[in-house]
Symmetry: C2
Subunit: 234 residues, 2 copies
């Protein structure tokens, strides 16, 4: 991880003003001038795949906005297992619990190389109080977290393994941009859906045989979206 925003010599600083997430992230309501004023304490970090962004129950001084990549929030279970409770994509915010509490509620790990901005709690709180647009954006983010959590309950923790997997693939595809998406490991899929790694593997294999998905080199897939939607029903 390297830091940028706090380095006065970093010419990339200006990039924040044109940052491609700027339009839909926390500070979208700020003028370039305002933006510049608060950039000082903000760090831009690269989080390599599988790196831990923060650990559950550790002190939580900062929130993070995701500029690119994919991040999972997981919870460690008493019996040694783990459960993934959220997937964050570009534009999402991680660690908002710092705004009303002391510690992180999850462990955040990059599923794909990620690019994040680290923002001290105080900066967000101050902006939240002074700038209505930021405040509005913050409320939206919070509601978004709730919606995503609900989606995990309703879509990814309900019904047969087959139905859950279909819904997961559809959810991943919703990233929008490309028609194909990179796939998490079978182990992560298991932790996402509340099933074992083996079952995840079997279901994916079966989907492949039926021609519902197609795995190219590496980890990308193309869908028979209609067929998956049918399976997702239950």
């Amino acid at each position: 991880m390297k830091s940028n925003c706090t380095n006065p010599a970093w010419i990339g600083r200006a990039e924040c003003a044109v940052c491609d997430v700027r339009g839909f992230v926390l500070f979208s309501g700020l003028s370039t001038l305002e933006l510049d004023a608060i950039l000082q304490p903000i760090d831009n970090l690269r989080v390599p795949q599988n790196a831990v962004l923060y650990e559950q129950d550790s002190a939580a001084p900062c929130v993070y906005t995701l500029r690119s990549g994919l991040i999972k929030l997981k919870v460690d279970l008493p019996n040694g297992g783990r459960r993934i409770v959220r997937l964050l994509r570009p534009g999402d915010v991680a660690g908002m619990e710092t705004l009303v509490g002391e510690r992180y509620h999850h462990t955040a790990v990059a599923l794909q190389d990620a690019d994040v901005c680290r923002i001290p709690r105080e900066v967000v709180l101050r902006l939240d109080q002074t700038n209505p647009a930021v405040h509005q954006a913050l409320m939206r983010r919070w509601q978004r977290s709730v919606d995503q959590a609900d989606h995990f309950i309703v879509a990814l923790s309900t019904g047969s393994a087959e139905a859950r997997m279909a819904r997961l693939l559809i959810t991943l595809g919703c990233t929008g941009s490309q028609p194909d998406t990179s796939m998490p490991s079978r182990e992560d899929m298991g932790a996402l859906l509340g099933i074992t790694t083996e079952t995840a593997s079997r279901v994916v294999a079966e989907f492949r045989r039926r021609g519902l998905i197609h795995i190219e080199k590496g980890d990308c897939v193309a869908y028979d979206h209609a067929g998956l939607t049918r399976l997702a029903q239950g």
Copy 2:
């Protein structure tokens, strides 16, 4: 349901100032004077058991604070089933999605007779902008929703039926006050845990045989808290 706060003749209006939830609900930061000024558009409702407070996807003009009782938020599944995604207790807020959106995301139904205050979106938004304490309270409520949703994923949708049921009973017991708590129907338990009504019934019966719980007249239980905790592990 009868209305109170909007009725000028309602002497109970003063009760809001001494309302027992006042200390830990949205408006805890307001003076009695401020409180009085905003009371006008607020309705106090009684929601009988099994009554619907609001319907999923319907227009959402208001948020509701729960003063007493128990409310479930459920989602209807494409295949006809339903899944309960949250349980609200006194002090919780329902329908916060109205603050950033147009429609309710769940159907809210009273599990026990409930007493709620209905507050128009505009009132909350205005207070949120003008009163820092209200704003702070709102953020806490939002985070609380997220935490509760996470709990449903991690505790109530993970592991064997037995473990889930144990965690549910512990969660219900956490209401705190009495040592015994009223139990939801077997059907609701199923919808809470993502299992069938029959399995819910079997597990409860088995718990009873083992002396882990005890069901008195009506729908109240007393726990062997230690034993349940052991089962909850996995």
